[in-house]
């Protein structure tokens, strides 16, 4: 029945097509050579990887890599749509919370046999990065880079308020009074009359500079803010990581943390969520409309760009009741199981994870490559440019990092938790209730 319909439709439409010069049937493969589709989301990294692609093409003239960049906000939506069309990119940049969904629906090629065949040395990568991508003896990605979190602040503004680098390097935080972090934020918030947040006459309704710029479109992990502080408060996302099956978003330690963020907004120290624009926090900070924010090592170049007029610097995350905690996250390149060019794709992935490409990426100083050797080169590249980015590597040396959760259903968990967090900062719900509800829904996915 189905085949009959298919044929009938094909015949009819080709008939129609011939009269209007539309090509019918399958797409044509270009003569000789393979074109690989490769996806990534970070426009800042595009030039670095374009350079890799060009070098790769030079070494393998029969393979061309076509890179497509899609902003983070739509990247996964697009990818899933393409997967359902059976037309996904051959290779794409993968993230730990999103990849399990693709692995369980058999969309990712198991790289383990290829790694063994070609003797790729996984121990050359930063510790722990490769483990995230393995499950039940299969391996779904080859590490490409890693990132940690820190604070970035406007040095001029903070100095004006008498906040020195030494102080900022030793900030503390707790959910009840906010520690020295909250004091720093309060002092750097300015109303339109130039009074700071500690001034008794401070007008929280008319703000010129916000002391803190929180990120609210932060999925289920809060990597760019609440997740790090919640972890510093002793919060743990789930029973075990990776591959846990029971989340703990109802933990009061998380609720306290979110409540503290809400309190920042109420105090006027942070912009209201419902007055956000399409402009990202990093732009606002660079334009002098904010003083402090949490940021990841992949954004370093945004702030060190010579075009930025404000003077910015990095500081470690504050020390919380459970110590200093920074999320560490590693990205990897994965091959689509449905690719027509498996061998070529693997070749490209292997090249992306090789010293040659990673050193090129390191030279661009936009991200820390996964290879230990290349990480050192990236640090050197930053230093050569006169940027002090040590705070991002210090946390790994001091073992103050925690890995982001890797579980099934990541894609579905993201909006559930993000909506809950947003509803709290909007004042629509109490943190306890919103997070409890979200947690129930999240855990129901695992049943």
């Amino acid at each position: 029945m189905r085949i009959l319909h298919r044929r009938a439709a094909a015949a009819l439409l080709c008939l129609a097509a011939t009269s209007t010069f539309v090509s019918c049937g399958s797409s044509d493969e270009g003569s000789g050579g393979t074109t690989l589709d490769y996806w990534l989301w970070d426009d800042k990294q595009l030039p670095a990887y374009q350079e890799c692609a060009d070098a790769f093409h030079k070494a393998n003239p029969d393979i061309t890599v076509k890179i497509t960049q899609t902003a983070w906000a739509q990247y996964w939506q697009n990818l899933t749509t393409q997967l359902t069309s059976g037309d996904a990119p051959d290779v794409w940049t993968n993230q730990s919370s999103y990849y399990p969904q693709f692995a369980t629906s058999n969309q990712l090629l198991d790289l383990q046999p290829l790694i063994e065949r070609d003797k790729v040395d996984l121990s050359a990568y930063q510790d722990g990065l490769a483990d995230v991508w393995a499950k039940d003896g299969k391996r779904y990605g080859l590490p490409k880079d890693w990132d940690t979190m820190a604070l970035v602040y406007n040095t001029t503004m903070l100095e004006k308020q008498g906040l020195k680098k030494a102080e900022l390097d030793k900030l503390t935080w707790n959910p009840s009074d906010g520690g020295t972090l909250e004091r720093a934020i309060a002092r750097s918030t300015l109303d339109t009359k130039g009074r700071n947040g500690l001034d008794p006459d401070f007008d929280r309704k008319h703000i010129k500079v916000y002391g803190f710029l929180p990120e609210w479109a932060d999925g289920s992990q809060g990597q760019n803010g609440w997740g790090d502080l919640a972890a510093a408060n002793g919060f743990r996302y789930l029973d075990k990581n990776p591959w846990g099956t029971h989340y703990k978003y109802d933990d009061p330690k998380l609720a306290e943390t979110i409540a503290w963020f809400k309190h920042l907004i109420d105090k006027g120290y942070a912009p209201r969520f419902d007055k956000q624009s399409t402009v990202a926090n990093s732009e606002l900070l660079s334009a002098g409309k904010g003083a402090i924010m949490v940021t990841g090592s992949w954004t370093i170049s945004t702030f060190t760009d010579p075009k930025v007029k404000e003077k910015l610097a990095f500081a470690p995350l504050p020390v919380g009741p459970a110590g200093r905690k920074s999320a560490i996250n590693g990205l990897a390149d994965s091959v689509w199981a449905g690719t027509k060019h498996q061998e070529q794709s693997w070749k490209w992935v292997k090249y992306l994870g090789s010293a040659d490409c990673q050193n090129r990426v390191a030279a661009h100083a936009v991200v820390f490559p996964a290879l230990k050797s290349a990480t050192r080169k990236a640090l050197a590249a930053h230093e050569a440019k006169g940027h002090d980015v040590g705070v991002f590597t210090d946390v790994t040396a001091a073992k103050e990092t925690f890995p982001l959760p890797v579980t099934e259903h990541g894609t579905e968990i993201n909006p559930l938790v993000q909506d809950a967090v947003q509803s709290v900062v909007l004042g629509q719900a109490t943190p306890q209730k919103a997070l409890k509800d979200a947690n129930d829904k999240v855990n129901a996915l695992f049943k």
Binding site: C14, D43, A71, S85, S282
Partner: protein, 308 residues
């Protein structure tokens, strides 16, 4: 509904005597407000498109850009290098709006032309030809009106995918070219209203059904056919979800999809507004051309359709 043009004396003639009263002045003032509200956003679109991206913070609200530039147009048309495009606020992704424009024209043109033709054939058969089960078949076909698009989008997507037609024009236009219930209904109504005598004369001359339809009825029906064709073209021009699902690839990417993708390819820090507005402007230009060439036809076509 009835066209006005065939009547005389009901239009302008009676109004010449009306004197400007306060009420009329107020009415014209309201009309002016409506016009400004309708057209001003388009001005703003062009104004933003002519602004250098670097000026957005300092110069996003003045009536005219301080340093007007065409760079945003050149880069969405793919006429600049990646570096230039990135320097001008883009993400450096390759875009070629000329191609997308052409794809849009092909997409909506194919749908409008073929759908009108096939629906006219069907409408004529239902209006004039005699065959058993005619009314029953017509009723079933019209019942398709009850099926909302979203409902068929999902299975049709699967069908097109299984046919291997994703990212081909064939797959993109397949569900709409063969028929749409409203057009069949509308054209049947029209054919019923044509006097039979003309056709009967042709039949007496020994012309077959196809000949009558093609040489007698079609030329007589230019008006309604154009009406259906134009409105269909407009809807197809605006289509988003279906071409997004079935024709994302460069070769078949239509303007709406291209704009959506371009928005997503913005730098992560902020949307590439100047580029987006340049792309948007390009999507409006063909509309203006149509309006200038066929404005009267289009406006009057709403006198009897528009019900889709």
């Amino acid at each position: 509904m009835t066209s006005t043009r065939t009547r005389t004396g009901t239009g302008t003639g009676t109004r010449t005597r009306t004197r400007p009263t306060p009420g009329r002045i107020l009415a014209w003032a309201l009309m002016t407000v409506a016009l400004v509200a309708t057209l001003f956003p388009f001005y703003w679109m062009v104004r933003t498109a002519l602004t250098p991206a670097a000026d957005l913070y300092s110069d996003s609200t003045g009536p005219l850009p301080q340093h007007p530039t065409m760079i945003n147009f050149w880069r969405v048309l793919g006429l600049t290098s990646q570096e230039e495009a990135r320097a001008a606020g883009g993400s450096g992704a390759q875009v070629d709006f000329l191609r997308y424009l052409l794809n849009s024209v092909v997409y909506s043109g194919l749908i409008a032309f073929l759908q009108t033709l096939f629906c006219a054939m069907a409408g004529y058969a239902f209006a004039r030809l005699r065959f058993p089960g005619r009314d029953a078949v017509f009723g079933v076909l019209i019942a398709a009106l009850m099926v909302p698009p979203i409902f068929t989008v999902l299975p049709n997507f699967v069908l097109v995918k299984n046919l291997g037609w994703l990212n081909t024009f064939a797959g993109m236009v397949a569900p709409s070219v063969l028929m749409t219930p409203f057009a069949v209904f509308f054209l049947r109504q029209f054919f019923l209203s044509i006097p039979r005598e003309v056709e009967e004369a042709a039949v007496l001359d020994g012309v077959g059904a196809w000949g009558v339809f093609w040489r007698v009825v079609m030329p007589m029906s230019r008006g309604p056919l154009l009406t259906i064709g134009l409105t269909t073209a407009v809807w197809a021009w605006k289509d988003y979800l279906w071409p997004l699902l079935t024709g994302r690839e460069e070769e078949t990417r239509v303007l709406t999809v291209a704009l959506g993708i371009f928005q997503q390819q913005s730098p992560n820090t902020q949307p590439d507004w100047t580029g987006l507005m340049a792309g948007s402007t390009l999507s409006v230009l063909p509309v203006l051309v149509i309006l200038i060439l066929l404005g009267r036809r289009l406006v009057e076509s709403l006198n009897f359709t528009g019900i889709k």
